[in-house]
Symmetry: C2
Subunit: 102 residues, 2 copies
DNA sequence: GTAACCTAATTACTTTATGTAAGTAAGTTT
DNA sequence: AAACTTACTTACATAAAGTAATTAGGTTAC
């Protein structure tokens, strides 16, 4: 096709990170495991509908882990896998850029 | 509100980079200035409509520069500003992550 | 014990974003 | 002058995201 074609893995990564809320959800989970409603509160304008959808997608990608603690009442915690924590340098670079240029 | 509120500049940066095509357009322009149709060809599934829209938005953000060369025929080139080139480390980290984890 | 409350969703509906395809304007080549 | 090229724009269809109400477990307050 053309000489400057983009690597499909890079393209996939960009596709994932370009989905709305994904970066911010990962950013919050870098602080440690979190419950659904805590994430909802820390991302002020996300709807429960999308938070639920995104967490499910991120779980399928192996970036987020969902754990159910059968306490009374039940507690469900979301946390990052190794693959998810490995996204930290990307978010750190976004932080650097934003403080230098925005 | 809550202790884990997100920095608004960081949030803005994430918002920009989360818009579809933005990262890939910047990635292509890191190779050097490019014309509209060359960008269109290097991003196989983008429509002219959105490429035009995104370039206009990126120009307004000061990330992309549009230059008209009044040759015969006229040539219009898009390139990155310093602010745009400063995004390179973010894209490099995405590349690293994607080759390690995808 | 029942009314109100909490968490983690799901469903129905509206609005916005994106995709597709055709059209336009200025100019070039055949 | 008919066909082609570049850099768009416009009109319309489809997909994604936002909003709000509802549900299913269970808890606490009275």
């Amino acid at each position: 096709m053309n000489e400057t074609a983009i690597c499909p893995r890079f393209e996939k990564a960009v596709g994932m990170l370009s989905k709305r809320w994904v970066s911010l959800i990962v950013f919050q989970l870098l602080n440690g495991p979190s419950r659904f409603c805590a994430l909802e509160d820390s991302l002020p304008n996300i709807s429960g509908r999308l938070l639920s959808e995104r967490l499910k997608e991120l779980e399928q990608e192996g970036i987020v882990r969902r754990e159910v603690y059968p306490e009374m009442p039940v507690r469900i915690e979301y946390s990052l896998t190794d693959k998810g924590r490995a996204l930290a340098p990307i978010l750190a670079e976004i932080g650097t850029w934003s403080s230098n240029w925005l």
